[in-house]
Symmetry: C2
């Protein structure tokens, strides 16, 4: 106890990880629960992060020829009925609109009125309605490919919610493409997974394992579901993005047909791919420490906060002049296509002020008092180091070294997360050891295990039942290697990635 | 008949303006009706336009210190009940969610299940929920101002819908700010109206009249509603943006209180302001002609389309090489902070191809065949001129003159719209003339009339009843001038703007 450093967030990650997560989000002012069950209010600090993520991803999508469109919030019930018929794991938890007006009730309150002939569902995805549109837009091979993306809110009713990780309403993008050939659709599937991988690793500083889902974890209707899986600090896996190759299944369901160059009628080959605000939860759980959120500079809502210190109006004048000119210079600097964002916090709230910015995870803090002005310096700290590590830096070095410092922080976060993932990824070849690993209290959730699997649904299901451990993916870089299934000892040619998951 | 030029859109504006609008939207592939009553599918050509509009406005908002946030899609019924109590013109047409799941029904279909204890409303605005959040966020003068904006979808049930102009679901932004003083809130109200004015005039090329609403046209709960009004080609007015000064009314309703510097408890002063996808409808109706949409270059989804022409593979090779290199050069050019967007349309659909781009309203078209390659030229046309006006331009002139050409088109559109508005705005001082003006068939909807008004609600209501003509605004630049009310002859100090309106 005596040596324990007091941290800004209580409980710590070790004491209670789920509660730590809640507290970190709250303390960062990124988002909060709303009065509507399961829905969140995303506050400016969280929403600006999302905007930065969207801007980068959106530009990458467009670079590959994708264009954005917008589809209705509501889906007719009959569309889902059609889907429910042929989609097994069809989710039935959704918001149902049954009336289109409010009337004065007998007790003075408002009551629903104007019952709809057909109930409407608030979109859990826009898949069906996009399919219906594509079937109208496509008639010839000349109309292909169709490369559409939508950024929107979707709703899936959740009973137990956690901000960003699982909420009834969330923000996401869903891409849908239709192609004339299987090859082109397969290329698109992997192209978009690559876009996600690059973004998550380079911008969110989250190392991921790239692979293919097992049949039982596959998206309903998909021929192939590919994904990227990240490791949280409680050693559980979080899926950070998926890209599906749907073969001709979806086109058959939605009647997306075209005449090929020879005049022959064909079904299109389609893909879909998406990421959501859930990524923000993953980013927080990857980098956050016991003092709060740590924002990777590439997506941080702001890069630098300047904290002026003064005791009287005279000091204030000098300090603020210095601070404003410093901010002005920093804001001219380009950091990976975005101008450096500088906050100036002149609230007179004492020491609490600095801690607020630590909890928000801003990459760089700089205190500036009369002495710093005199020395033409700043007293700076980096969020990837401990709160006490501060040092005086000459003004010009601070400005000229800013891009490098931010890149260093970004690299540190990635390295730290990668080391954590790598040191918590194990090869296990013995069933007892595998079971012990996931049952031991010490490891909480164990970590990632690369183990052999015979591809039997049954073995996979048993492991899930016994340990709540699932196959997260069959990694693309898992080498061909003869081995024995970790559950039944049957023949296996490849190790797959097992983990507990969010 | 003999001299009538065949146009791409039928009917023409003169023949049937509302039908012309529908056909123009359809032919442009900007948006279409969806299978969900009252909701539209915004296709890439329309959505990219919206993205461009959003990008410019959003940057302007941020320049003034506003930050974006996101609030829940759903509003608890009780919030609206509270509002309905004290807001007179409270709109009751809304989508009501009463259930949170679907179950297999007795006949095999899906039926709503899991009835909610309290129905939820799909937000018609987020006003109430933003007010509730602000009341939690604000406690001291140090927390002020709060400057929040949200880009989102909202739903107001509509029975008769027209794409972009009136749809059940639409996209918009709503800004909400809270301030410590009345003066600051009033400044913000006019600052945001100025942002809208600048955007609508400079980017959408739509001239507007800026002013204040009369009491009866004011936003419920507002102390002051300011607005910008544009004239459509049928001479009706369309409100292109509003900015409200809400005094302390909204803060009282939502309990947004703060301790001032002297420790005294005060209600905040608030504003709200918004624009929506309705602006797109206004833009189409301002500039469109009988050949379709005309996109102002500043917001156009693309600036230039290159139309390669070839008869065989050999020609194709040469032409495409030329076209691709030309596109590459054009795409390096910055036009008002945005790189020039170039489309290449190599579909072999003959003459129909060029007409499609005319109907889409792309500012510049350029045909390129083997002869143009030989001459190192392009055969170019501008959308602000007639379809037949095409001319050969040297490649280098085309590239070097592109920014100027786009600016010219932008200026032409604005001037044309301004001349139209000015020549259809009249001063009328005689009641009979006023009535004749709006009753005459010739003028369809008459136009704008600047007339005196005694400020009586009664005179205003009578005119509305008789003619469906309303006071669009009391223009800020309307000079003090003694006159007689156009309806009752009573004293008046100012002319106000009358018109029929969308
Ligand atoms: Zn096995
Ligand atoms: Zn009067």
């Amino acid at each position: 106890m005596g040596n324990k450093v007091k941290t800004a967030i209580s409980p710590t990650r070790e004491e209670d990880y789920p509660m730590w997560y809640q507290e970190v989000v709250k303390a960062s002012e990124m988002a909060e629960k709303s009065s509507v069950r399961g829905c969140m209010v995303i506050r400016p600090w969280g929403y600006t992060l999302w905007e930065n993520m969207v801007a980068i991803l959106d530009a990458e999508f467009k670079e590959t020829g994708v264009k954005n469109a917008y589809f209705p919030l509501f889906i007719p019930l009959s569309y889902l009925e059609k889907e429910a018929e042929h989609v097994e794991g069809f989710a039935k938890e959704c918001a149902v609109v049954t009336h289109h007006k409010l009337e004065q009730g007998p007790n003075g309150g408002l009551v629903p009125a104007g019952e709809l002939a057909e109930p409407l569902i608030v979109r859990p995805t826009s898949e069906t309605i996009i399919g219906e549109s594509m079937s109208r837009w496509v008639s010839s091979y000349r109309d292909l490919p169709v490369l559409i993306n939508q950024w929107a809110n979707v709703v899936r009713w959740e009973m137990r919610t956690r901000i960003f990780l699982r909420t009834s309403e969330f923000l996401w993008q869903e891409g849908h493409t239709a192609h004339a050939t299987e090859e082109e659709a397969r290329q698109r599937t992997s192209m978009m997974l690559d876009v996600y991988t690059k973004f998550v690793e380079e911008c969110l500083a989250m190392p991921v394992v790239k692979g293919r889902k097992s049949e039982s974890e596959r998206f309903p209707g998909a021929v192939d579901t590919t994904c990227i899986e990240a490791m949280m600090q409680d050693k559980k896996a979080l899926q950070a993005g998926t890209s599906h190759f749907l073969g001709q299944n979806f086109a058959k369901g939605s009647d997306i047909r075209f005449q090929d160059a020879d005049g022959k009628d064909q079904f299109a080959w389609t893909t879909s791919w998406g990421v959501s605000t859930r990524m923000i939860g993953g980013m927080i759980m990857t980098h956050g420490d016991d003092d709060g959120v740590i924002m990777p500079p590439r997506v941080a809502p702001a890069h630098v906060v300047l904290l002026p210190i003064f005791r009287n109006d005279e000091e204030k004048k000098d300090v603020m002049e210095y601070v404003n000119s410093l901010a002005g210079e920093l804001r001219q600097i380009l950091y990976h296509d975005r101008k450096i964002v500088v906050e100036i916090d002149e609230r007179d709230t004492g020491g609490a002020r600095g801690w607020e910015w630590i909890k928000k995870g801003i990459p760089v803090r700089a205190e500036i008092g009369p002495k710093d002005v005199e020395k033409n310096a700043v007293f700076a700290a980096r969020r990837d180091r401990t709160p006490k590590e501060k040092s005086s830096i000459a003004r010009s070095d601070f400005i000229n070294g800013m891009v490098e410092m931010l890149d260093e922080i970004q690299a540190t976060l990635f390295k730290r997360a990668k080391d954590f993932k790598d040191s918590n990824t194990h090869q296990i070849d013995d069933k007892n050891k595998f079971y012990d690993f996931y049952k031991s209290k010490e490891g909480i959730h164990g970590g990632f295990v690369m183990a052999h699997w015979c591809e039997s649904l049954d073995c996979e299901a048993k492991i899930k039942e016994d340990l709540s451990v699932t196959i997260r993916c069959i990694p693309f870089d898992s080498p061909e290697e003869s081995g024995k299934c970790i559950y039944c000892g049957g023949k296996s040619q490849k190790r797959v990635l097992f983990a507990k998951a969010y």
